[in-house]
């Protein structure tokens, strides 16, 4: 039971010692002034402050120790008397160690010359006994009560000093472990008392990391020396802190570092102030990129040309990415060239306006053609550009970013950013560029859709006008020949009906083309009877819109005539409608049989003009009506479908 308590106490005090931080500074003989004092007061040749660790005792202070112990600064436990003071937690008074049952075998006697020993425990504020203050003589000495009292008084002072050091080292370790950078500084004034600079008096290790300046290079130098050309605000604002006694907060860039800092400066009296800060470059850049994207979104909404859109994209890239040259160019994807009409260049960077061939700058155009953004950290090492690095040297480019704009699977434009130095493009930068690319692509898509809609509207308006012109032509010409208003009205509405049936078919194909089977079927439909007296057949074939309208009108005229005078006017007549290709010509035939005998008409009206001349002209061919007494025959010969040059009807 006792044994376990002792072991527990021992491990507690060792832990307390190690936590105190006193072991770290022990080589500096930090408590040497106290041991000097002990030698004076007790008139002994040697005095020590020991810290009793697990397997060694460390001298936190010593005076008069013989070599080599003074330099070693510690001994193994085989040489320690102090461990007994610590174990007991009470003073140990030894007049002659050689005659002490416990100590007579201790190596300190022979190796260090310890004969008489008076030690008192050193206790930390939390009660842990961590070492001893001891007076040592190399000859026998009977220690008096006064000796012990005096030593205890000095031990109390040592303990107070230890407490101060522990507290200070705790603060220092917090200060050093701080993620924030810390500066203690003093302003420097000119003769007139105006603050012109400030000097670093102390910085923590975070400062070095956040600023990227080697340790040991900064204390004792001024901010203008450490960062030549630094922005005046970094001096003037801190001068204000000292002059007004008011703390400030700041978010500012050190331009020469390209890094942003966010922090607070606090006056601490006199000409001194402290600064505590964090690097916020990432956050600032992220905010800048977000703003750039928002602005781009606003810009894109109102832009009406691809060039304006891509220009806005370049502006966004310039805001969100740090580069030395930014611009865009039009791509000829077949010849793999790019035309750049203007670009923005940082000071000292050459412009690259003009025409360039992609292949003289490596193979990355292959990626661009696939619509992939190309980001090259260093043209000298990237496999796509390493063999053409010289071409890049000529345009002062080490790092580059290319954003492809693709339309209908073709590379049409490129937005680029070039850097004079190698630059590891970050994921955030690439994501930003991709977002700019997506917005740009979407805006161009919207523009194209609007263009398409506008074109479609114009086209529809045009077709509508054309249809109305046809209606008008049919109406006026029909009326011109009509015997009565009633006859005219019926003829007009029948002809417009034929026109409308063809239009129905064309509506399904955007008014571009129609299958002849459908057109003939629809045109004959009103005239078909259950007795199947009309036969029709032929291959599929594509008709232009005009041809479809024409065939529909022609069939209407022929069927109407057949119903009135021809094969469909009696009980036995038949009509055979065929079409197809003959000798590379399109041939359409209407043949009547078994009707009443045919007499050629006395007067050729609009109907036959329509059939023979107008419809035939839609086929670039000719139409002929043969008034054979056995039955009317009509033959149209011409070009098929879209082979003929034509405009949309």
């Amino acid at each position: 039971m006792i044994e376990r308590n002792w072991l527990q106490r021992r491990s507690d005090r060792i832990e307390a010692l190690r936590r105190s931080g006193l072991l770290e500074g022990s080589s500096e003989n930090a408590f040497g002034s106290f041991t000097d004092h002990v030698r004076e007061v007790l008139d002994v040749p040697v005095a020590i402050v020991t810290l009793v660790d697990e397997n060694r005792q460390v001298f936190a202070g010593h005076s008069g120790l013989p070599s080599p112990w003074d330099e070693r600064g510690e001994t193994p436990m085989t040489h320690s008397f102090c461990q007994y003071v610590v174990d007991r937690g009470a003073p140990l008074s030894v007049p002659d160690a050689r005659q002490d049952d416990v100590l007579k075998t201790n190596h300190a006697i022979g190796d260090i010359g310890v004969i008489a020993y008076l030690g008192v425990p050193l206790t930390l504020p939390d009660g842990a006994v961590i070492g001893a203050l001891a007076a040592i003589s190399d000859s026998r000495r009977i220690w008096t009560d006064a000796d012990e009292r005096r030593l205890l008084v000095i031990a109390r002072t040592v303990e107070r000093e230890m407490a101060v050091r522990i507290s200070e080292s705790r603060w220092r370790s917090i200060f050093e472990q701080l993620a924030e950078g810390f500066i203690l500084a003093r302003v420097l004034r000119d003769e007139s008392g105006r603050v012109v600079d400030w000097m670093y008096e102390e910085v923590n290790s975070a400062w070095h990391q956040l600023v990227g300046v080697e340790p040991g290079m900064v204390v004792g130098r001024t901010v203008r020396e450490v960062f030549p050309g630094i922005e005046d605000e970094w001096v003037m604002e801190f001068a204000d802190v000292v002059e007004t006694g008011e703390p400030i907060r700041f978010t500012r860039q050190v331009g020469s570092l390209g890094r942003w800092y966010d922090g607070a400066a606090q006056p601490i009296g006199g000409d001194r102030f402290t600064v505590i800060f964090l690097e916020v470059t990432g956050r600032i850049e992220q905010e800048r990129r977000q703003t750039a994207l928002l602005t781009l979104g606003d810009d894109l909404r109102d832009l009406t040309s691809v060039n304006e859109i891509v220009e806005a994209a370049s502006r966004a890239i310039a805001k969100g990415v740090v580069a030395d040259r930014i611009g865009f160019g039009t791509v000829d994807d077949r010849n793999e060239t790019i035309d750049i009409s203007s670009d923005w260049c940082a000071r000292g960077m050459v412009s690259v306006t003009g025409r360039h061939s992609f292949r003289s700058f490596g193979s990355f155009v292959d990626d661009l053609k696939q619509g992939r953004t190309v980001a090259i950290d260093d043209v000298n090492t990237d496999p796509r550009t390493a063999t053409t690095a010289e071409a890049f040297t000529e345009i002062q480019t080490r790092s580059l970013l290319n954003l492809p704009i693709v339309e209908a699977q073709r590379l049409v434009l490129i937005v680029y950013a070039h850097g004079m130095q190698p630059h590891a493009w970050t994921e955030e930068e690439l994501r930003f560029v991709q977002q700019v690319g997506d917005s740009t692509q979407a805006a161009i898509g919207r523009l194209r859709a609007e263009d398409g809609r506008r074109l479609l509207n114009q086209e529809l308006a045009h077709r509508l006008k054309n249809s109305l012109a046809m209606v008008q032509a049919i109406a006026t010409q029909t009326l011109r020949q009509a015997q009565s208003m009633e006859e005219g009205r019926d003829a007009i509405s029948a002809r417009l009906g034929a026109l409308a049936r063809a239009q129905d078919i064309l509506t399904g194909t955007d008014f571009v083309e129609a299958d002849i089977i459908e057109v003939v079927g629809a045109a004959l439909a009103p005239h078909l009877t259950p007795s199947r007296r009309i036969d029709f057949g032929g291959p599929h074939g594509s008709l232009t819109a005009q041809q479809a309208l024409g065939i529909s009108l022609a069939i209407h005229e022929l069927a109407t005539n057949a119903t009135k005078y021809g094969a469909l006017s009696n009980e036995t007549g038949r009509v055979c409608v065929t079409w197809g290709e003959e000798a590379e010509r399109f041939v359409f035939r209407w043949i009547e049989a078994d009707g009443p005998p045919v007499h050629p008409p006395e007067r050729r009206g609009f109907g036959s003009k329509l059939i023979e001349r107008i419809v035939a002209s839609y086929f670039e061919g000719e139409g002929r009506i043969d008034f054979d007494p056995a039955g009317i025959r009509f033959q149209l010969t011409g070009a098929f479908g879209h082979k003929m040059p034509d405009k949309p009807a």
């Binding site: 045009h462 054309n466 046809m470 032509a473 011109r480 003009k609 001349r613 002209s617």
Partner: protein, 129 residues
């Protein structure tokens, strides 16, 4: 000119690729007393003008297949045959004024037959003067 006016001695050249519309225009011109020539495109029109000096009016559609549209044709005619009166028609919403040849007349499609006849009569009157 002391002889009496006989518009049939003067001709209108109708340039229109749609046969139905062309045939309607021919009827209108003949109604106004003019002789009518027909062309389906600008090339045919130029050939007609070269062959028939009696053509005094060009009545052309704008939208046509071929290398030259109606407006280009109108300008070419204004250049080569200054006395020829030019009438332009189109289904497009508008033809900009600056695209029209000098003194050209514009008729939106579908055009009013009476308007065309009236314009032709007026032209005939001017030629007679």
């Amino acid at each position: 000119m002391s002889q009496s006016f006989n518009p049939a001695r003067y001709a209108v050249l109708i340039v229109e690729d749609d046969a139905l519309l062309r045939s309607e225009a021919v009827d209108l011109c003949e109604e106004a007393g003019f002789t009518a020539f027909e062309a389906r495109n600008a090339d045919q029109a130029i050939a007609m003008l070269e062959r028939h000096p009696q053509i005094r009016v060009l009545f052309t559609d704008v939208e046509m297949p071929g290398t030259m549209d109606g407006l280009k044709l109108a300008h070419a005619v204004r250049e080569r045959w200054p006395p020829v009166t030019i009438m332009v028609t189109s289904g497009r919403t508008k033809v900009a004024l600056e695209d029209m040849p000098e003194n050209g007349l514009f008729f939106a499609k579908p055009y009013p037959p009476n308007g065309i006849v009236a314009a032709l009569n007026e032209i005939a009157g001017r030629i007679y003067d």
